[in-house]
């Protein structure tokens, strides 16, 4: 059993309630933060811990906090990004649904560090029942004196607001989220200025993912050094991985960073291997945006080293032969899955979710979707494959926010690693037209060489 930090108490009956949570040491970090530490000390502990943003980018959380402008005297805000909508990712939902007080405690401790008196939890609109769970937890915390005016008699005051989104993937991007929180369309802002200087309502703001904030109480209770000793290298601590696709045991797992991917995918403790005894074809290791890897490159890096679940190991080899840990959305594809169909599906997603602000993304995502739809349905041409490559290249890096890159990478990696499958769809147009849901038997034989 690996180290558990976030899910240490998840199986205790009643942990959702304030009383049981408190009995298990809940809210101790708030007391320590208010009575024993200065805000700068809290930031220092989080810096020492090496905790990296768990939303996908992996930016050091303590460093992000230290950028917040405390000199201007303007109100500062902490905004929790609970807009979880990266395909393959359902970890934040698990935390908020089953141990909601952990996020509330993390919000309070983090707000103390940032010297903020108002925090927001921006939760995706579809999680309607979870919004109620969080509101209930906030009410309980307030009744117990952890929120409101003059907390623990220290003179510090804090309020938290749960704010629902309304169905827009783009609002997971931090500046789009802030626009949305201001009651506008979710169009990302140009950076700089960064939110730490000009964020919500033009005031200094930090935006952190649910899991990042939920990791703060443990760090404050046990110290940043203790946290930094868990994990491997610069991938410190634990990470929630939401595993899905063709595996025996889909679900949310907390792993110590550095766990071998083989163990994560095949051991009974985690995913339990590929469903129905099938073979592994490919893995998307960190949410739909990250490059897809064929089985052999997933298990081993190009240099032949076994791959680990860590920021560094998964990205070993760059995009040529590696991928990213991303949000921890772990999607597994068995031998029956069609890569062209999956790439088309993801392209449709990004086309649907593009906010339309930047031309390369607005036009490019729709174009890629159409070309992929043609290929998938047996109406493609060989030149379409190069065309797709060309379009994705022109989107990547040419948009205000990373949605453009996120739309380009799955297409690029699918062509890079599975070009033969795209060609097959052109050469066998009639068969491609007949295919339903999964791959055709004949296709499977053709691709058996690619499967591990």
């Amino acid at each position: 059993m690996g180290k558990k930090i976030l899910l240490e108490h998840i199986n205790k009956p009643g942990i959702k309630s304030y009383e049981i949570y408190r009995q298990n040491g809940g809210y101790n970090s708030v007391e320590k933060a208010l009575k024993e530490l200065k805000p700068a000390d809290i930031v220092e502990e989080v810096k020492k811990s090496g905790l990296r943003g768990r939303g996908g980018a992996g930016f050091p959380a303590g460093m992000k906090w230290s950028f917040i402008d405390k000199k201007s005297g303007n109100p500062r805000y902490l905004v929790c990004n609970a807009d979880e909508s990266e395909p393959g990712t359902f970890k934040d939902r698990y935390l908020m649904e089953f141990i909601p007080h952990l996020l509330i405690e993390g919000m309070i401790t983090s707000c103390i560090a940032l010297e903020s008196n108002l925090g927001f939890i921006y939760i995706r609109g579809e999680y309607k029942w979870i919004k109620k769970i969080l509101e209930q937890a906030i009410a309980e915390a307030r009744a117990a004196g952890w929120l409101g005016h003059n907390i623990l008699g220290t003179g510090y005051s804090l309020d938290l607001i749960v704010h629902p989104g309304a169905g827009a993937y783009i609002c997971g991007e931090e500046t789009a989220l802030l626009e949305s929180l201001e009651g506008k369309r979710g169009n990302p802002r140009m950076k700089p200025p960064f939110p730490a200087v000009k964020g919500l309502y033009g005031n200094p703001t930090v935006v952190n993912n649910v899991e990042t904030i939920a990791s703060v109480p443990w760090i404050i209770n046990n110290g940043g050094d203790a946290y930094s000793k868990i994990g491997i290298g610069r991938s410190t601590g634990t990470k929630l991985i939401s595993a899905c696709g063709n595996i025996n045991k889909p679900g949310v797992y907390e792993i110590e960073l550095g766990l071998p991917v083989d163990e994560f995918l095949n051991s009974e403790e985690y995913c339990g291997g590929i469903k129905d005894g099938k073979m592994l074809k490919a893995v998307v290791a960190g949410g739909s945006s990250v490059p897809i890897l064929p089985a052999e490159l997933f298990y081993k890096t190009k240099k032949g080293e076994p791959r680990l679940m860590s920021y560094e190991s998964l990205s070993d080899g760059g995009f040529e032969s590696g991928t990213m840990l991303g949000s921890g959305g772990f999607i597994v594809y068995d031998e029956d899955q069609c890569i062209v169909r999956n790439t088309w599906n993801f392209s449709r997603f990004y086309h649907h979710e593009s906010c339309g602000q930047c031309s390369p993304c607005r036009e490019g995502t729709g174009w890629m979707e159409k070309v992929l739809h043609n290929l998938e349905n047996g109406h493609g041409k060989m030149s379409d494959i190069d065309l797709l490559w060309d379009i994705q290249k022109k989107i990547d890096g040419n948009t205000i926010c990373p949605l453009g890159d996120a739309a380009a990478w799955p297409v690029a990696s699918a062509i890079r690693h599975f070009r033969e499958e795209f060609e097959w769809h052109v050469e066998h147009a009639q068969e491609a037209q007949k295919r339903n849901y999964g791959l055709l038997k004949s296709t499977k034989e053709y691709f058996s060489a690619l499967v591990v």
Partner: protein
């Protein structure tokens, strides 16, 4: 998508108006526009699950916004329905992780079973079928959202049939 005019004014009960006021008052002074998304959710729920032009105008009036500020937001977010929907809006996820675990089958099955296409409503006004992008239930596929809740692991006809029957019962009871 074009908004639909009904020429019927929206009347909100005192209770709902108070609820809206409470939501607005949460936000810092002078930042009441922040409440637009939650207020649209409340009004949509009150207006049979969709937003007519009149409903959006009502929100503009309550929040002291120009109507265009409401329209541009309501048309941006996929959860706001700009045309009437059935009593039960079946929002089926069709994104990758669901698609590779019978998500596509679920949509086809619902189409056949309800004899409607995606985007249509059954003649009895009970069901509207809608496909949506990733709802964050990838490990519990195939799934759909109906109202407040998620219905997951809908991988067999029996499970889907039972769920539809339950909704029908609820629908009849209300009438």
């Amino acid at each position: 998508m074009l908004a639909v005019k009904t020429n019927k004014p929206i009347i909100l009960t005192e209770e709902i108006q108070n609820k809206i006021r409470e939501v607005i008052e949460q936000y810092p002074e002078g930042k009441s526009k922040s409440a637009l998304l939650p207020v649209l959710h409340i009004v949509q729920d009150e207006n049979a699950g969709w937003l007519s032009v009149e409903a959006m105008d009502k929100v503009a009036e309550l929040m002291k916004l120009r109507p265009i500020e409401v329209y541009e937001v309501a048309t941006f977010y996929s959860m706001y329905n700009l045309k009437p929907v059935g009593r039960f809006l079946l929002e089926v996820c069709h994104t990758g992780p669901c698609a590779i675990r019978k998500g596509e089958w679920l949509i086809d099955y619902l189409k056949k079973k309800l004899r409607i296409n995606v985007g249509e409503t059954t003649a009895d006004g009970l069901f509207t079928l809608k496909t949506v992008e990733c709802l964050g239930a990838c490990g519990y596929a195939p799934m759909m959202q109906v109202g407040e809740y998620y219905y997951e692991f809908l991988e067999t006809p029996e499970k889907v049939d039972k769920l539809l029957d339950d909704f029908r019962m609820k629908g009849f009871n209300k009438n």
